[in-house]
């Protein structure tokens, strides 16, 4: 009887401890106390979630901190008209060109974050893109920027959230879907928040006063893909799609 009671008590205490541990599970931190974002992450794709509806893997649990719902891009009326003139065959990535920010974050391929106290490096499998992001509390960009596909990124820590300020874009990338063009005035502010369930809530606020009526926010939930390392993706190697699709035009 005593043994039985002791067992019940032990189970009760262990359960309480486990519950407590789950609720207050700390996020990993670097030596200087910042959230440790380092490692391989991915925003989606069959290699992360399995075949839609057919996967034998258990479904991913709902995130503790879901990203914002994606709304349509709020174009000025002339820009909305222009946006509709594009088709999928105009997609810059069809020609293996860099997807820009924030679009690259949701590509169905992994990327690795390397973190030091002075900079964050993101090495993307998709399109061989990389970003070297100095941590600079004033978010000061170099003054000699020439417009580029991925823009220029600088970062600061806002509490436990990494804030990345990106500017210096060319006007050749798309923000998200077909025809979502922008101007060289594009300015993106990204926020990377590491959560207790080992996910990152990624949000990007996009402003472009020449083209948009108001800021546009998009987001993604980043997870750690199992047993995955960032590997080579030489997109141009056998890119027959561009020719196939343009033949049709």
């Amino acid at each position: 009887m005593t043994i039985h009671l002791a067992r019940i008590l032990t189970i009760a205490v262990l359960s309480a401890c486990l519950g407590l541990a789950q609720d207050s599970k700390p996020i990993p931190r670097t030596a200087n106390g910042k959230p440790d974002l380092s490692g391989v992450w991915q925003g989606g794709g069959v290699s992360l979630y399995g075949e839609p509806g057919l996967s034998k893997r258990p479904a991913a649990p709902p995130p503790v901190n879901p990203p914002p719902k994606r709304e349509p891009v709020p174009y000025q009326s002339w820009a909305e008209t222009k946006s509709k003139t594009f088709t999928a065959t105009d997609d810059p990535t069809l020609a293996c060109l860099l997807p820009g920010v924030p679009r690259i974050t949701s590509m169905p391929m992994p990327f690795e974050i390397v973190q030091t106290p002075k900079e964050i490096v993101i090495a993307y499998e998709s399109f061989h893109a990389f970003r070297i992001i100095p941590i600079n509390d004033k978010l000061q960009h170099p003054n000699d920027l020439v417009p580029t596909w991925m823009g220029d990124s600088v970062a600061r820590w806002d509490g436990d959230t990494l804030v990345v300020d990106v500017t210096g874009f060319n006007d050749k990338t798309w923000l998200s879907g077909t025809g979502s063009f922008h101007s060289e005035d594009l300015h993106v502010v990204e926020r990377f928040k590491l959560n207790s369930d080992d996910t990152i809530t990624y949000t990007a606020t996009v402003t472009d006063p020449k083209v948009l009526t108001k800021p546009w926010t998009t987001g993604a939930l980043l997870r750690r893909p199992a047993n995955t390392r960032v590997e080579e993706y030489e997109c141009i190697e056998n890119n027959q799609d561009a020719a196939h699709m343009h033949l049709k035009k």
Binding site: G43, G44, G45, V46, S47, Y49, G50, E51, P52, G53, P66, P67, K69, R70, P72, V73, T87, A88, T89, D91, T93, L94, C96, R103, S106, M107, P108, M109, E125, S126, F127, W174, S176, G177, T178, G179, S180, T218, G219, A220, L221, P225, T228, E231, E232, Y233, E234, C235, I236, E237, N238, N239, Q240, D241, A242, H244, M245, L247, K248
Partner: protein, 138 residues
Amino acid sequence: MKTPKLRALLAAYAGLILTAVPVLAHHSFAAEYDSKEVTLTGVITKVEWTNPHIYFYIDVKDASGTVVNWAVEGYPPNTLKRTGFTRDDLKVGDTVTVTAYRAKDSADRVAGREVTFPGGGKKFAGPAAGGGPPSGYK
């Protein structure tokens, strides 16, 4: 013409929009391929384990006995490797059956879906038609 089933699938995807991504990685499925599924059985003649998508080629005999060499496009190599479909799964000389979707611009090219190997095993070479939004997330 969308079938109710496809509509349901698309609706299901709409719910996943935050994590939805282009399944063919860098181009629009709908712009390039038909959504009607066809089945091809043939002998593998060549394998291109390449980016941005793999291709393999199969000799398929039609009803009149004429052999046509079909090109089958699939996921990028890294995606296949990560989902358990390896380069060694496609062997020149093997007879395979492939469910697929025909290209809109070509009589002998398809987007491959499920491959049945000589031993009866099955693996997905590429996405289902409508299996996700095209190259963006709009």
